[in-house]
């Protein structure tokens, strides 16, 4: 049976690659693997750490096989013609494919796309109560028996030690007095004072011995529990406040007949990437996702159902916006999900991402609805996919109406004309403003 012999080395490898520049030895190089994946030629690049060895240089003879005559270069077409060598002269494919882990993706979003770090909104909400310390005073409900017994035992141990020491001292003193009495160097009067002194000492000794029997633990005997008032211990409470808001991402999807498969694919990609980016930003809080498809009317759908819906019908944006109004107000609304959402803008940052091709017949009502919605919403992103020639009016109208909001960054619009522009869309929605 195998019990994961690689274990923490996977983590160590990742960390070593990241910190390679700080290390005293070794450098990062890239190892290329060419192959086929789903019939496509690909090259996978794997970062490796190159540790130097004392090795032979290029002059040492090596063995190879393949075509060619004496005097030919080993890799023909390599280095002679620059254009060719860039296209991978080894006969491998030219596509580049890199395996990305989630952390790499987030780093990519952060470093390469230079997305703005989202700062979650502030709130103050009691999250939970913890009991980090103990105090000798407190209400009965917070009384802690275990700690009390601990305290008692500690006190007993200390006291026993103290009493034993006192006992020893007294016995020594009594011995001294006895010697003095026996030595016969003293007058009768002095002897009497000495005897009185001895009596006092002996009475003190007996008192201490009595106390000791009360508190001393003896091997094999039962524990004597004698709790003093000083031993009582009570929990002290501390309230932990949660300071960050939660977040909700609301996806709108246009279900009208004019939506194509490409539009849907683009919306899926942007939605997933947004979700990942928000989850990274709201590390300590929850990020929820809601899905609202709409044609002539709108309803909340489960994630599974959302992407399976077939486009049909006309388009009206207003019912979709009204659903968000209902969520905030706590009214019921049409839904396919089990639980009614009740969003409190005080505690939750609302992100809306709308995907549409822009075809709409109640533009003015929709714009009014958005205007009422915007005070509650953290960011409103509108992604228009127009892969064909047709350009909608809705995009321009949004731009006109909310120009001030666009300037301060709470409304962001992007018109996507090619499928490769997904990253640009994300950069527009969550990138830095200005510059």
């Amino acid at each position: 049976m195998i019990i994961d012999p690689v274990g923490s080395s996977k983590k160590k490898y990742r960390k070593r690659i990241q910190d390679a520049k700080k290390k005293a030895i070794g450098e990062v190089k890239y190892y290329q693997l060419g192959g086929l994946k789903r019939g496509q030629p690909i090259i996978v690049t794997i970062p490796i750490i190159h540790i130097p060895h004392i090795e032979y240089g290029p002059w040492a003879p090596g063995v190879a096989s393949g075509p060619g005559e004496e005097g030919d270069p080993l890799y023909p077409g390599h280095g002679d013609d620059e254009d060719e060598s860039h296209e991978g002269g080894k006969g491998e494919g030219d596509a580049i494919y890199e395996e990305m882990a989630m952390k790499d993706l987030i780093n990519y979003l952060k470093d390469e796309l230079e997305l703005e770090m989202i700062k979650p909104g502030k709130r103050k909400k009691k999250e939970r109560t913890i009991y980090p310390a103990y105090s000798p005073r407190g209400p009965d409900s917070l009384f802690d028996l275990d700690e009390t017994i601990d305290a008692m035992m500690e006190r007993h141990i200390v006291q026993t030690k103290m009493y034993k020491r006192l006992e020893n001292e007294l016995m020594k003193n009594i011995e001294d007095v006895d010697i003095k009495i026996v030595s016969e160097n003293y007058s009768q009067k002095d002897l009497e004072t000495l005897k009185d002194e001895k009596d006092v000492l002996e009475s003190r000794l007996s008192r201490i011995r009595k106390d000791l029997t009360d508190i001393e633990f003896e091997k094999g005997q039962k524990l004597k529990i004698k709790i003093d008032d000083d031993d009582l211990r009570y929990k002290t409470s501390k309230i932990i406040w949660k300071e960050e808001k939660d977040a909700i991402l609301i996806n709108f999807r246009d279900l009208s007949g004019s939506i194509t498969k490409e539009d849907l694919e683009a919306s899926w990609t942007v939605s997933k990437l947004t979700d990942i980016w928000l989850k990274d930003a709201y590390k300590d809080s929850q990020v929820d996702v809601a899905y609202v498809p709409h044609n002539d009317w709108a309803w909340e759908e489960t994630e599974e159902g959302y992407y399976k819906l077939m486009p049909n019908g006309g388009t009206s944006f207003t019912p979709a916006y009204e659903i968000v109004h209902d969520m905030i107000k706590g009214n019921d609304y049409p839904r396919n999900t089990q639980v009614k959402r009740n969003i409190n803008p005080e505690e939750t940052d609302i992100y809306i991402v709308q995907y549409s091709d822009g075809g709409n017949w109640d533009t003015d009502a929709a714009l009014d609805s958005i205007e009422r919605l915007l005070p509650h919403v953290t960011r409103f992103c509108y992604l228009e996919t127009s892969f064909g020639d047709w350009k909608s009016e809705y995009y321009n109208k949004l731009k006109e109406r909310f120009s001030d909001k666009i300037n301060d960054g709470s409304v962001r619009l992007y018109r996507m004309q090619k499928q490769e522009q997904t990253w640009d869309a994300l950069k527009t929605f969550f990138g830095k403003r200005g510059g």
Partner: protein
Amino acid sequence: MVQNPTINVMRGILVDDEWTKMARDIASFCIEKYKLELPDINFHIIGAEDLYSISATGGWNVSPQHWSLGEQYWISKQQHELGLGQLYEIVVPSEDTKKDLGYHPVDAYVYDASQDYAKRLVIAHVYGHAHMFEVNPIERKFRPDYPQGYLAYAKKRLEELEQQVGEDGVERIMDISESLFTLVDWYHMEEVKPYEEEENVWEKMLETPAEKSRELKKELTERGDKKPLPEKRDYDVFKFIINNSTKVTEWEREIMEIMYNIKKRSYAGGLINIVHEGFSALINLRYALDANIPIGEVFDWLKMTYGIASQPKEVRMIGANPYWLGMNLFLDVIDRWDKGMYGLDWENLTDVEARKEFDKKINKGWEKVIEITKVDDDYSFIDNYFTEDFFKHKASHLLVYQGDKPDEGEKEEDTYMIVSKMYKDVKNALLFNKFNNGLPRIFIPKNGGDYDGLGHLMLVQDFSRYDKLDILQEELTLDLKDTYKTMMDALYPVWGKPVHLITTTNEGQKIMLSTLDGIKVKITPFGSK
């Protein structure tokens, strides 16, 4: 050798009865038919994920944790998923609990392939490896007694040290050991030829005034009293540093010792690679043909493993494929010894037609193969059996290449040129890549650990014995960039005093590389050409 080896097939922690029976049947078939000497074997049938892990550690179930394992795991995972290299099995010597009885059990990890016949053939392949582990002298020499126990101890000890001195400190020493492990003595070669002191001290004395000469005499006698360090030339440079460095602390020494033991064992496999893989591939092939496996399945298997055991003619491939080379050399040996194509009769035969039809029908081929597994390592195997006939008929597409110093912005690969397609050159190049594991031979000369009486470390590259392979001194030039880095980043930090290395330029001029401070390397010409 065990008369009746105990063979079990495990799936998780349970014994798989069906496969155990199957494996035992295959074993008795192989013992009877191929005269294999098998030890006790524990098969473990495992999934792909476990196989990547176990291959990353080189077959060990426990291993000290180092980033290189994570790297290797990632590479084998990617290779497997891209279909670039299918891993089927990995075989390692197991815990030597019955050492006194001469038992050397092995553990074999077998990939849970979808086809049953594939697994059967892999089991036959494993028996090839197990036979090699049992009988080959090189394998026996480097076999540790309690490998798993030692690795478990090493893992625990390094984890403790990580707690005490921090992960970074431990990792640094492990990285340095990773860099220096190539400087070990594979052959326990002692004085081959005494190191010639180029500098003549008596000449110096003649030139100096009388007083100075007396001082020098005194110094020399004093130095003569002191024991030289090392007393004779030492090829085990890494071990020497571990034992004699005054710079390293006790825990650093401990880590380096652990790494030395582990690395030396695992890289000794390079000395026996071709015989090992070739013999196992041969058993595999023979079993596929001899056992009554349906021809379709055999064909499927051969198609699947063709990529592993082939040396393509049309596409460029760097290096000789050990599976292909070993298996074909064995097949050639079988053919020759079956027909009696050896000895004086054969050597003196010059007529081409007669050579072609030569057949004494003595059928000693398989005997010879078993004999080879018992005596040869890669070097002697190629030296004895890579004949001109074999080269002409089977291996004529092998070639020798050499590079040059790349210009700026140029990759080293771009400078590689095909220099020869001749039999002798190919054979010499193959032998060169096997001599000392294909690594430069570096030694510490007598008193090289206290060079100049100041505790400097002197290393010398050994050029002797390469003339037998027709390889000139200038072709043995080191990769300077990596050598500098090794000297500055690995040797200097553990030795703590200046380090010198005598090597050669690619013009054949001997030079001395010295790092006095671990920051830069100085080059000075050394001696005459």
